[in-house]
């Protein structure tokens, strides 16, 4: 599997150190298949976000190679690499001085699409994330709810139609109802779009629900990759605490019912 050309993203012996000593990622080997949603599951400080940022070179590895679309990220022009990859984060990071339309149009404009194509695309992606253009295009980020901001962030990430989408706990800061709503829509979206998605989360339920596979990361090391059903069945010592926590929640819910 490791050297298969079917990998959209591949980590080969990747190590990442801060200031040349403290190791945040050590000897990571991992491939992400075209069209799959891979969840990076781990606790705070496990290195899952760093792993994500290695893909679009927001950080650069100390050793090893990250290969995106068959080419090492070190060989990519970094600006091209980033425009080729969608990116959505927990705080959305929308430009506060841009309205929704300008925020979503950001990458297509950087890529110098013509105006008609940009206008059509903005309409299309806003529709995709459930925000009617007429109602939302002219609003500014601080006139939106947290859920709406997150939708705009997702629309912006999708705007230039990247084949790869990186998501860093995009639903982490939302209230439970909005989160469930967006998770549900994400599942629908994922079916229609067939993107390669790498999704960081610390939430087991979210990982099980949204992922095709789950990569468990702990202390900068990959503990294993599991399909959701395998994950629940696994006897792996690193998996156990997650499964136990998940089961405990379920039991409480069931006993209450």
């Amino acid at each position: 599997m490791n050297d298969s050309p079917a990998a959209a993203i591949e980590f080969a012996h990747v190590t990442y150190r801060i200031n040349g000593n403290r190791m945040l990622i050590s000897d990571l080997n991992l491939s992400v298949r075209y069209g799959e949603t891979l969840m990076l599951l781990g606790r705070s400080g496990s290195g899952k976000t760093t792993t994500l940022k290695l893909i679009n070179r927001l950080v650069s590895q100390s050793e090893g190679q990250v290969i995106v679309d068959g080419r090492s990220t070190a060989e990519w022009d970094v600006i091209q690499l980033r425009r080729h990859i969608g990116y959505a984060i927990q705080e959305a990071g929308l430009f506060p001085h841009y309205d929704v339309e300008d925020n979503v149009a950001l990458v297509p404009r950087l890529e110098r699409w013509d105006d008609a194509r940009i206008a059509a695309r903005v309409r299309e992606v806003l529709h995709l994330v459930g925000l009617p253009f007429e109602q939302y295009a002219g609003r500014y980020p601080d006139e939106l709810s947290g859920g709406q901001r997150q939708r705009v962030g997702l629309a912006r990430a999708l705007a230039a139609d990247p084949k790869i989408l990186l998501m860093d706990e995009p639903f982490g800061a939302l209230d439970p109802i909005t989160r469930a709503e967006l998770q549900h829509e994400f599942l629908e979206l994922k079916k229609t779009l067939s993107k390669t998605i790498v999704f960081v989360t610390h939430d087991v339920a979210e990982a099980l629900m949204l992922g095709d596979r789950i990569a468990l990361i702990d202390s900068g090391k990959l503990k294993g990759i599991f399909a959701p059903a395998e994950f629940l069945r696994s006897r792996h010592e690193a998996v156990q605490p997650y499964v136990n926590a998940f089961r405990a929640t379920q039991q409480i819910l069931n006993s209450g019912a």
């Binding site: 990116y87 705080e91 506060p96 001085h97 950087l110 601080d142 990186l166």
Partner: protein, 216 residues
């Protein structure tokens, strides 16, 4: 002679000195912005230089203006003409608020906004022009506003070294012990400071409105 009579009688001189004053302040502020904003941007890229540059600037501010004019007098070329010297000194005074606010404004851009911008593939130049400067603009203008008001005041001292401006009246009035003559310099200078403060305040507020928008 009453104050209004003095203004009427010395109309030409009031206008000339006001013009000189505006010129001193205008050129100094242009220089301060032309140097201060890029310097503030540089500091945001090299935070290690921050204490050196801002500290040095702070020390600058503590030198009494009259002393600074005197100290610069022997400097070749600069000291050769009083207005050159005055403009240099005024620029140095105006620099700190401009540099500090440019740095503060850029540093104040929220981390997720910056991260998203970089991750979307903005080049460093695009990040600066499309995100950092627009978001910092009201803070930068606030710094220019402070600097302008300070400069209008300090520029009155330039008359002490013969650089002209409204300070001429003030020093002459002091020498003549004539309050009207002092006020003939002080009132236009005060009006100039208030006017600059007002106009730059309007600009600043219009920038705030496009950035930190409220819900209605």
């Amino acid at each position: 002679m009453s104050l209004p009579d003095f203004f009427v009688a010395h109309k030409r001189e009031v206008l000339t000195l006001t013009g000189e004053h505006l010129w001193l302040v205008g050129i100094s502020m242009l220089l301060a912005v032309a140097i201060g904003v890029p310097l503030g941007i540089l500091l945001s890229r090299r935070p290690a230089w921050k204490s050196l540059v801002l500290g040095g600037n702070n020390i600058m501010q503590t030198i009494p203006s009259l002393a600074l004019f005197g100290l610069l007098l022997p400097v070749p070329w600069i000291g050769a003409r009083a207005d050159r010297l005055a403009i240099l000194a005024l620029t140095l005074y105006a620099l700190l608020p401009v540099v500090r606010n440019t740095y503060t404004g850029i540093a104040g851009v929220e981390a997720p906004v910056r991260e998203a911008a970089v991750a979307m593939g903005l080049t460093p130049r695009q990040l600066l022009w499309q995100v950092e400067l627009p978001l910092a603009s009201n803070v930068i203008v606030a710094g220019i506003r402070t600097a302008t008001v300070i400069t209008v005041g300090v520029a009155t001292i330039a008359a002490a070294i013969g650089a002209g401006g409204l300070g001429e009246f003030i020093f002459r009035g002091l020498a003549m012990v004539d309050n009207n003559v002092i006020l003939a310099g002080a009132i236009p200078a005060a009006l100039m400071a208030l006017f600059a403060d007002f106009v730059l305040g309007l600009i600043q507020r219009s920038l705030v409105r496009t950035q930190v928008r409220t819900h209605n």
